[in-house]
């Protein structure tokens, strides 16, 4: 393989693994939007919160990793349930913008309260995976990116199964499809809303662990949430498969921009390339690649 090809392969592989990690974060967003029509602007802050909790449990409390992960999952599930109950349920039936504003407010609160409670220094979140790059053909990846990619793929498979085969998953799709009719089927819609937020909590917990391990844990961890938007606009706000594909595309575009464009312009294209793509997609296919095209009958 020529050097050029090897370079390209390496960029692709790197981009794909980061992209899967973006998809992981986006999954939390999609789950909530799909079931409840709520746009969660605090997704990045969910991830940050989970990262802060797990880092605290590891460093201060000195829990074994597996216990810390389980506790973090439990806390984030509780957080999701509680949030739905306390903040979002009273907003049911209000204009969508009320929920959006509530999540923006929540994001600010989490960013503010996080450092107050957990301290503002950057904490390392060390997973027992070493830092020896994992060689894949002509390229290699940091182990955390491999872990992140595996976690993402596992979750996607699990949720695909859940929505296709499990009773609760099918009921949740029914709720997403038509809340009124779901109620007529005896489905307790609010309970499924709560479940969706709890699932977002689970996804965010795992996202917080892998992203926190990669970037270190502080308030800036919330910034990964910004990548959610190009990913879900590309894939479709309500499509789980779309989040996966959207994440991959955004990750790869970023990586290619960094590899091929940055040397000419002195860097920085990586950071805005996804948003250029997002705006293009909005102009051409506003419901995303896999999103449901909603036909409004007038």
């Amino acid at each position: 393989m020529s050097e050029d090809l090897e370079f390209a392969f390496s960029l692709l592989l790197n981009g794909a693994s980061i992209g899967l990690m973006y998809a992981l974060i986006a999954l939390g967003f999609v789950l909530v939007y799909k079931a409840t029509d709520a746009i969660n602007f605090a997704q990045g802050e969910f991830v940050m919160l989970a990262g802060l909790i797990v880092a605290m449990l590891l460093s201060f409390v000195g829990m074994p990793l597996i216990v810390a992960v389980v506790v973090t999952l439990a806390v984030m599930v509780g957080f999701g349930f509680g949030l739905e109950r306390v903040v979002l349920r009273p907003l049911l039936g209000r204009p969508v913008v009320a929920v959006i504003m509530a999540t923006i407010g929540l994001a600010a609160i989490l960013r503010g309260v996080g450092p107050v409670v957990f301290g503002s220094e950057t904490r390392a979140l060390t997973l027992p995976i070493g830092d020896e790059p994992i060689v894949l053909g002509p390229a290699s990846l940091p182990p955390i990116q491999v872990v992140g990619a595996v976690v993402a793929i596992t979750l996607f498979l699990a949720f695909s199964w859940f929505f296709k085969k499990s009773r609760m998953g099918v009921a949740m799709r029914a709720v997403a499809d038509n809340q009124q009719v779901a109620q007529a089927m005896g489905i307790n819609v609010e309970r499924y809303f709560a479940l969706a937020w709890a699932m977002a909590g689970v996804v965010s917990a795992l996202g917080g662990i892998v992203w926190g391990s990669m970037l270190g844990v502080d308030v800036h961890l919330a910034l990964v949430g910004l990548k959610v938007f190009p990913v879900v606009i590309l894939g479709g706000l309500d499509s789980i498969g779309g989040a996966l594909v959207g994440g991959l595309i955004i990750g790869i575009v970023e990586s290619l921009a960094a590899g091929y464009l940055d040397p000419y312009v002195g860097g920085g294209t990586k950071d805005f390339a996804p948003y250029v793509l997002m705006i293009l997609v909005l102009m051409i296919r506003p419901y995303g690649i896999f999103g449901k095209r909603k036909i409004e009958r007038v």
Binding site: R167, A174, A184, M185
Partner: protein
């Protein structure tokens, strides 16, 4: 199909569902005013009236989607007026919707299985914990659904997404989904609306079978007078939110108020 008004299994005086003087206003508009309804166990009661008479609003109050401003809805002696739609469904009132309301991304089978949601005991948490139990329960539910599939002749459509089905079939699937919950009372909102004559006759047959073979009490909103007069035990006529007549199909047809409501006298009311 002959008039079934004299069927022995309809016991007058044994009212399964009673609506007592319900009213509903939306802003300045009175949709339903002081309407009462008695539905004997095992009967087919039809609600007719010109467009905008308040028929669907009345159905929405029975199924819990609207809370009446005044009045009561009583199912088998229990006041269900203030219950949530999902609780009303759990108590045994199933319904279909005027505009077909299937879950369009889901298959026929999934839609029918969702109809059985009220019968599935495992809640969110317990169904995670008692995984095996839920699996066993699923088989029983699947068998019940299979029986409905056979009854409504939907065998070839199990795995079809409902969005791919023809109009008449979708109406039939919606009936099946309501039946899947094994309801005591079935509310049908224009089950034959938009159908051709053949489809209407099929649907009328199914409704009669549901009532007679399965013993389900039926409350029906329908515009096709031929069907209504054929299959109903009792007909209630609404006009501009008020009940103007009630009785057997024959009685109602002879009622001058009904003729006036339909044909319009001076104000020119809407046609059926």
């Amino acid at each position: 199909m002959g008039a079934s008004a004299q069927r022995a299994d309809v016991r007058e005086g044994d009212n399964q569902l009673v609506v007592k003087g319900v009213s509903k206003r939306f802003g300045g508009v009175t949709a339903v005013q002081d309407v009462s309804l008695e539905v004997p166990r095992g009967s087919i009661v039809s609600i007719i009236g010109p467009n905008g008479a308040g028929k669907t609003s009345l159905l929405n109050m029975i199924s819990g989607f609207y809370k009446p401003d005044t009045g009561q809805v009583i199912l088998e002696g229990q006041d269900i007026t203030q219950k949530k739609p999902s609780d009303v469904a759990a108590l045994g009132i199933a319904r279909t919707f005027q505009n077909i309301a299937l879950f369009s991304g889901l298959t026929v089978l999934d839609n029918l299985m969702l109809g059985r949601h009220v019968l599935m005991k495992s809640g969110v948490l317990s169904s995670v914990i008692y995984w095996g139990m839920a699996q066993k329960e699923d088989i029983a539910h699947r068998e019940a659904v299979e029986e409905i599939i056979e009854f409504l002749k939907l065998q070839d459509l199990r795995k079809q997404p409902t969005s791919a089905l023809a109009y008449g079939l979708r109406k039939r699937v919606e009936l099946g989904r309501a039946l899947a919950s094994e309801p005591k009372v079935l509310l049908l909102d224009e089950p034959m609306g938009g159908m051709n004559q053949d489809e209407k006759e099929d649907m009328a047959r199914y409704v009669l079978d549901v009532n007679q073979e399965r013993g389900v009490t039926v409350v029906l909103i329908e515009h096709d007078m031929g069907v209504v007069m054929d299959i109903s035990d009792r007909v209630v006529v609404l006009d501009r939110g008020r009940g103007i007549a009630v009785g057997t199909p024959e009685e109602v047809q002879r009622n001058p108020k009904v003729v006036e409501a339909y044909l319009g006298k001076s104000k020119g009311g809407g046609g059926a």
